[in-house]
Symmetry: C2
Subunit: 218 residues, 2 copies
Amino acid sequence: MHTLSEENYLKCIYRLWQDKGQKITPTAIAESLGNNPASVVDMIRKLTDKQLIAYDKKKGVELTSQGQKDATLIVRRHRLWEVFLLEKLGYHWDEIHDIAEELEHIKDATLADRLDKFLGFPEYDPHGDPIPKANGKMAKRFSTTLADVKAGGSCRVVAVKDTTSQFLQYLQKLDINIGTNIQLIEKIPFDNSLVISINGAEHKTVSQKFGESLLIDI
Amino acid sequence: MHTLSEENYLKCIYRLWQDKGQKITPTAIAESLGNNPASVVDMIRKLTDKQLIAYDKKKGVELTSQGQKDATLIVRRHRLWEVFLLEKLGYHWDEIHDIAEELEHIKDATLADRLDKFLGFPEYDPHGDPIPKANGKMAKRFSTTLADVKAGGSCRVVAVKDTTSQFLQYLQKLDINIGTNIQLIEKIPFDNSLVISINGAEHKTVSQKFGESLLIDI
DNA sequence: AAATAAAGTTAGTCTTGTCTAATTTTATTA
DNA sequence: TAATAAAATTAGACAAGACTAACTTTATTT
């Protein structure tokens, strides 16, 4: 299989490809990984030799079908482990990413499928990203946010859009978790602030930015 | 923390120390890891600098108290993951070791403790080895084997002493797992073969060597 | 279109962890 | 105890994956 570095590059390229569908340049990869562009050029050569990517100055970096397959599997493992860490081991949202970043590289042919089954074949990870199925297919990303809810409506938190620890710790403080019910009491027209009630508790006000970062199911 | 290699050396030294309590030489470590003695000498220097071991030509390699602590934690993680893989993901005995070998290096301050709790604080791993507690303490290894059972007696399989895939696959074939009940029907004096009944099924004959490899609880 | 800025690339270096080959030290045996 | 074998060590090399510095190519701006 691939080395740890190779897998990280693959995953990065996959993410850039999903995010924007734009041309993927060595510089973009370097920035995304926090590496030097020169190092990226080395790895591009290596991954090209392994037929996982194709690189053309005009088109930028593209994943081959094998590269897509391999990258999808890494993402699948990452997101499954995130579910495991949150649901089974009781970690908080802001702690799971880094650990899953390590766990995703554990190599075993049946591990992902067994974990998937053990977790009850979850569709989404705690960040609202769909978990690729064993065949590589996956659902669409959650897209409705708290900011889309109409005043008077209520909803259930399913995931977060922003995964910075600042946001996740703020959620912690507000006692908002996956499954938490939120009622939208009022929208302040001035700045689109949201007055909400968390699990029926007292009213609190949060910003528009906050509302747009919380993925919900109505 | 430590690199993957450092951790593997630590674990190896810990194992050699537990196994025999004899002088641990560079050559012994090299053989155990399948490495070149020259490489071992390099790593001995590195671990000595990190104050994890002490090396004296007369006394051989010894773990410092910090080294013992760190090694114990790695062993704890390894054994806990083995329990997880077997009990939760349905792997077989002969598959879990190699995967746990990777999982044991996942670095997170609370992971082992959370996993321990999730698994219900198991005392032993599927190979009968005691799982070190968070404080470093651990129970004694299981020591009664099927060969110690008297004719007419019955027992419950708790672990295996031999972890070669040949043995583990043989168990598989005989449908023997952890918790399986075995009655000892007869001991053949000629070669100490054992006539047994597995979960009350028809009689089967196994060798003395087999009996000595199966750890049981009476 | 020339000047300048940005992106991409090459060459060479460093660290980690391994190796081989050669040498030194320690143990064993005739 | 001298000769020989085994173990330990040193020196030097190599691959992976990162880096810096310098150079080239491509884009942008005036």
